[in-house]
């Protein structure tokens, strides 16, 4: 038993965080927004150079052959930076689906993005800039080229969430898998959404700490007032107790703990972004502040890849049926019952 990250894992997380701190500032986000483009080509190019799309790809296909723990660390860094590009769903959901289905991975690992139309999500994110899409017909998974579908955009309050309804017809030969592939996708999607929520929660607290040190009222920085401190301390408590759940869920994907991780991270992001809005005062709900990017992403990701109600049903299915106890922390029970319940 050793619940620590390895040095390599720590280093990977720090390298990704460094790249995004340098290339994904508030000014970068605003520039991309004004350009109307889906992707910042310079930043995406550096993401490719680091090999991030292939983190979970098998080594024999040219991927890094790493696991969900590494991907969760990357997703946390992406959340912290409010990264607009769809790296997390591509690398954390689509690539493992293609790998599990035995599909050709070459393009997906080195530049072409795959969008995922999971039945749990009503719309498909980032379908317009994708080369291909994974779409559902009943329990079946189809790999469909972008040219074969018609897209209708639905505006999200998060300007970087490009959401689409898809109009398409299955053709013979596009089916690559069934329900098991969707189940794996849901676990990955929910887990890495949780990791992004954790990252953005920490960013909201960190931004607030900086702001409350600078902002002076009554002759003092407002961060010296206990009422302000306690808002942020409460958010930090939620963050501290979401993080190990996410890491443990990543270490045993397919366990009901993925749902716990999603719920805990959603609660932490909710607490952190709302505390941040409050301590930023009017700046917290203005267009001018960067906090808006975090708040909007939090709103979106909290409901994506299974709403809190969906994940609570999975947790309920587990605690009502499985043996519980202090000696079972690391049993990593499968979430099959919960899945059937939710379905």
């Amino acid at each position: 038993m050793d619940f620590r990250l390895t040095d390599e894992q720590e280093m990977l997380a720090s390298e990704v965080a460094k790249l995004l701190a340098a290339t994904c500032t508030g000014a970068d986000l605003r520039r991309l927004l004004e350009s109307g483009e889906a992707i910042d080509r310079g930043r995406w190019g550096q993401i490719l150079v680091m090999g991030l799309p292939g983190v979970m790809g098998p080594e024999e296909a040219g991927g890094a052959g790493l696991g969900a723990v590494e991907m969760a660390l990357i997703a946390t860094a992406c959340g912290y930076a409010a990264l607009p590009e769809p790296l997390v769903e591509h690398a954390g959901v689509a690539v493992p689906m293609l790998a599990a289905a035995g599909a050709d991975l070459e393009k997906a690992l080195f530049g072409s993005r795959i969008a995922v139309g999971h039945p749990v999500n009503p719309l498909v994110a980032d379908a317009d800039s994708a080369a291909a899409l994974l779409l559902a017909v009943g329990d079946d998974v189809h790999l469909v080229q972008r040219a074969q579908v018609t897209l209708t955009r639905h505006d999200s309050i998060d300007p970087f969430r490009r959401l689409f309804a898809i109009d398409w017809s299955p053709t013979p030969g596009t089916r690559i898998g069934g329900a098991a592939l969707w189940a794996q996708a849901l676990d990955h999607g929910a887990l890495f959404a949780a990791a992004q929520l954790l990252g953005l929660a920490q960013r909201a607290v960190d931004m607030s700490v900086v702001y409350t040190k600078d902002r002076v009222q009554f002759g003092k920085p407002i961060g010296s007032f206990q009422a302000v401190k306690h808002h942020l301390a409460n958010a930090q408590v939620k963050i501290e107790f979401a993080r190990p759940v996410i890491l443990a869920a990543a270490a045993s994907p397919g366990s009901v703990r993925v749902s716990h991780a999603k719920l805990a991270a959603t609660a932490a992001a909710d607490a952190a972004t709302h505390a941040a809005v409050q301590v930023h005062g009017a700046m917290g709900f203005s267009w001018e502040g960067d906090l808006q990017f975090l708040l909007k992403r939090s709103l979106a990701l909290g409901q994506a890849w299974g709403t809190p109600a969906f994940h609570r049903a999975r947790v309920a299915g587990h605690i009502l049926s499985a043996p519980l106890g202090a000696d079972r922390t690391f049993d990593a029970p499968a979430s099959e019952e919960g899945r059937r319940e939710a379905a």
Partner: protein, 389 residues
């Protein structure tokens, strides 16, 4: 990261489980605060544990421990709570003072106090708070005046008024925070160990809101104590106490197993009596929080075993477990409905009905003792997040 127990860890779990199955009393002991009889029954249990080598498994073998690592301590605690073993009478000693003695004690002090503590021969109380010094602990006024004794050695004369000392009604010893006369705030403080039957010590029980005498006031009138009973350097008491507080908040005061077992019982209660979906959501939250706390403590234990140190992040633990405990018990009372207020339940009720009420009253204190949660929030904001003081 490897979240699997090694075969050795699994064998250790099996060993604890087997011993507990053979030794845990079949019926609950009378509680250790209400009567001397209950206190002594628990002391006897501490002795039984010690004879089995389970007094404090992480301590070095020469002090009555097994020299085991923190993961094994967690496994031990899981099996301890799983078996429904009695509450640890000497918690103040083994979990709080013990680690501080190991860090700051002289070899003589360790040899003198640790084995007796592990064996249950000396049961400890904490004597820190005063009527005027609660959250603001640096405001303590009780004094330790250094004097020569007849043999030419040094003694302290302790004088003052301590309050809210858990277990002190029946305990044998106390560890207290005292100041050099004339000193102020964090300076001039020393941590001094003294027997509660020393001449000049008066113990006056204080009743909890349900009438149980769970703590006491201590009046110290010129109590003479050898200087050899000072733990750590003279004037360094604040640093020594903060080390104790680190263990208290961080790791050992509330082991995760306690809440996991309570959460599992809450789930059973929900199965029997749950119909309100709002309460269902609370039950799930309690179960998840107990799981999150366990994972967090495993992560901390792994870090400490690799040479890491306890830091201000332990303040998040104290807030988390105390609010989890209170929330869990409030949910249980809501599930019990009109029966919740009955101190013995309805005629024929199973014992757990009354246990929930007792657990609830106990949990009310969690956000207050070991540093009020508001103080912990200040520590998080200032020392973890770097906000201005």
């Amino acid at each position: 990261m490897d979240l699997r127990y090694t075969p050795q860890e699994q064998a250790f779990r099996a060993e604890v489980r087997q011993w507990m199955a053979a030794h845990v009393p079949p019926a609950p002991l009378p509680d250790f605060d209400s009567t001397r009889e209950g206190f002594e029954a628990h002391r006897e249990w501490e002795r039984t544990l010690h004879k089995g080598g389970w007094g404090m498994v992480t301590w070095p073998t020469e002090y009555g421990g097994r020299g085991l690592d923190l993961i094994r301590w967690l496994i031990f605690e899981e099996e301890y709570y799983r078996a429904g073993a009695p509450g640890r009478l000497n918690q103040n000693g083994i979990f709080l003072l013990g680690p501080t003695l190991i860090e700051y004690g002289t070899p003589e002090q360790k040899a003198r106090f640790l084995p007796a503590m592990a064996a249950g021969d000396q049961i400890w109380a904490q004597a820190w708070s005063e009527p005027g010094a609660g959250s603001d602990l640096a405001g303590v006024r009780a004094t330790a005046t250094r004097v020569k004794n007849a043999g030419g050695g040094d003694d302290y004369i302790l004088s003052g008024h301590k309050i809210w000392s858990s277990r002190a009604v029946h305990a044998d010893w106390a560890f207290g925070l005292f100041r050099e006369p004339g000193s102020e705030r964090h300076k001039g403080l020393s941590l001094i160990l003294f027997p509660l039957n020393a001449p000049g010590v008066t113990v006056k029980p204080i009743q909890r809101l349900d009438g149980k005498p769970v703590f006491a006031e201590l009046f110290l009138d010129d109590v003479r104590i050898p200087a050899a009973n000072r733990l750590g350097d003279e004037g360094q008491g604040w640093a020594v106490c903060m080390s104790t507080a680190g263990f208290e908040r961080g790791l050992m005061l509330r082991s995760p197993a306690r809440f996991q077992v309570a959460a599992a019982k809450l789930v059973e209660l929900w199965k029997e009596r749950g119909s309100d979906p709002l309460l269902g959501a609370e039950v799930m939250q309690a179960w998840m929080d107990a799981d999150a706390y366990a994972l967090s403590i495993y992560a901390t234990a792994s870090r400490l075993m690799a040479g890491g140190a306890i830091g201000p992040e332990t303040s998040t633990n104290k807030i988390f477990w105390s609010e989890l405990d209170l929330g869990l018990h409030k949910t249980a009372l809501s599930l019990l409905g009109a029966e919740a207020e009955l101190t013995a339940g309805l005629p024929g009720a199973a014992a757990p009905v009354a246990d929930w009420l007792d657990g609830y009253v106990f949990s009310l204190a969690g956000p207050i003792y070991a540093g009020a949660n508001e103080i912990q929030r200040n520590i998080i904001a200032e020392r973890m997040l770097g906000m201005p003081r």
